[in-house]
């Protein structure tokens, strides 16, 4: 079983921060426009927005480290294995004969770090499409080719 590329934590942290900003802004706005006129506040004006900022920032910085530690993936002869989850653990197994197609996907953030996501599709409906989020771009391409190759050989058989 392999870990993800460590740089994926940078992507997660940055996207967490990008979410933390509007969350703080909304909290600030709600506090100023809705709560303040009603006289609701914690100790001093601005504390609620500050707490929201602290929590979202803390979450954005600390959580990706934990998430990374519990992420494992592996490709074996006949199956793809994925283990993930900090609190809610899951261990997925996809038999390679059931893979319909494989995509690589990159966001601008991932591209700037030369990372890519690998998405594996099956005909299943619920948790059956899985994404391996942080792979070095070259690895993702190589893996995609490898997984596609097995499909072809089986088609000929």
């Amino acid at each position: 079983m392999n870990p993800l590329d460590p740089r994926v934590t940078i992507v997660w942290r940055l996207s967490g921060l990008i979410l933390a900003l509007p969350a703080t802004a909304i909290a600030g706005l709600v506090e100023a426009v809705v709560l303040a006129p009603e006289g609701i506040r914690l100790f001093a004006p601005g504390v609620i927005a500050g707490l929201v900022a602290l929590c979202t920032l803390g979450f954005a910085i600390l959580w990706p480290g934990l998430r990374y530690r519990f992420w494992r993936w592996g490709v074996e002869d006949d199956r793809v294995l994925i283990e993930k989850g900090v609190l809610w653990r899951s261990r997925s197994l996809i038999p390679r004969v059931r893979i319909q197609h494989v995509d690589t996907r990159t966001s601008p953030l991932q591209r700037s770090l030369r990372l890519a996501s690998l998405v594996i599709y099956t005909a299943g409906t619920r948790g059956a499409d899985v994404e391996i989020p942080g792979l070095a771009a070259d690895d993702a391409e190589r893996l995609r080719e490898e997984l596609a190759r097995l499909e072809e050989t089986d088609d000929r058989a």
Partner: protein
Amino acid sequence: MTAPESGDGWQRLHPLTPLLRAVQLLYAIIAGVIASQSGVGATVIVIFIFTVAIAAWITVAYLRFRYRITDDSLIIKHGVLFRRRRVIPRSRIQNVDLRAGLVQQLFKVTTARIETAGGQATEATLHVVSRDEGVRLRARLVGLAHDTPRPTAAAALLGDAHAALAEPGRATPAAGSTVHHVSPLQLVIAGATSNRAGFLVGLLFGGDYLFDFMPTDRILARFIPPQYLESGQAVEGLVQTAQSDMQAFLTGLFVLGIIFGVAGWAVSILASVVRYFDFTLRQHGNELQVGYGLFTRREKGFRRSRIQNVQIEEPILRRWLKLASLRVQTAGYGPGLKADERMETLSPIIRAGELNDYLHAVYPEFEWNSVDWRPSHPRARRRLFIRRAFIVIAATAVLAVLTTPDAYILPIALVPAWFLAHAHYRHLGHARAGSYVLVREGLWNRRTYIVPIRKIQALQLRQTPFQRRLGLGTLNIETAGNPIEWHAPRSIDLGTGYGVEMMEQLATEVTGTGLTF
């Protein structure tokens, strides 16, 4: 009446199509109402223009809509402004459903829906064709004539031979025979034993309390002292009574319970009779056909080889009466459809003793009676109890905070919670039987899934933080077509090590079945 046929086998829809679509002319009235604010003249003109435009649109749409069946596909060309031509390969078609509302039944026409795997909604809708044409379409698109999955045919032969050996007296269904017909009396039983009845009783109690839409207080006034009913509200009056006159309270509760019970059951029975009226299941070789419904008549056909899994549903009353209902998942229904429509009913009600015969129609080589169920891990009982205890304790805490002195009686509920947890545990289980894996769960409504290993798409072992502490996990078995997690095959609370082992074992067997779907 047959659809007019033009050259090259292109066919039109039934000539009544524009007439049945004429309901859309109501839009002209709506437009007229909107326009009525600017005077009578404008209203008349708007209604006239809209009526002409809509009528023209309906007519042109009808004239442009053509379809034809070739050797290997269904081709449809249609469109008023944008012309579209769609080719649906026959091998991709999962099922063909015919659905006729009351008006359509009157004119002997029906709406045909063609479903393929994948996609959000129905792949193609033929609205409307004559009933005979619908049956012909279904026969040609999913029928045996062009179906060539040899392994299943061989399996069917083997299965029938096997069945004949096992029970020489039993008649195996011949091609095209009716496997099953459900009488109205059986449907009454189905409605009476459905959990929907209990749900409705609860709804009536709640509805009467919140909205007071029933004259229940007048009936109740005969049984409990009138001063408690000053609010004119039955359930609240009953609550008032409980604090002073226990005997009157119990009488009132009994009466109200009977009233709501009878009403809830009646509605549930009516719903079941209307929905499944004249339920018939037929078998044509590899094709299964079901037809049911009083006002909306549904007729569906699908290939046996396309069945992803089978679900046996046993609400608590049915379990006591040794009854069950049977449904199959055919992957044809996308998430765009209502939850009710996503699985195909194979029988609204059957005796548990008939299950084996019945399942033979779907999985000829499967033997229901020889299934050896294995329980989940014993620690599951602890988790099932803790889950219920948590709710009791939380409710106690809330009541205590609200300074209700009776709050301290509530923990007595922990005793039934313990018994319920143990009862629940007995209904968790999994089993292996030949090339099938079975899982079941549910106390109030036990669901048993039968999944052929060749249909498994992916496997997943999940652990909530509570399960992780107890070394338990839930094994999800993914097939095509079960979009909702708690309506899909899964085995709850296996020991982690055992679950992982089972997952690995199943994966190896899935690989062994190769590229089949």
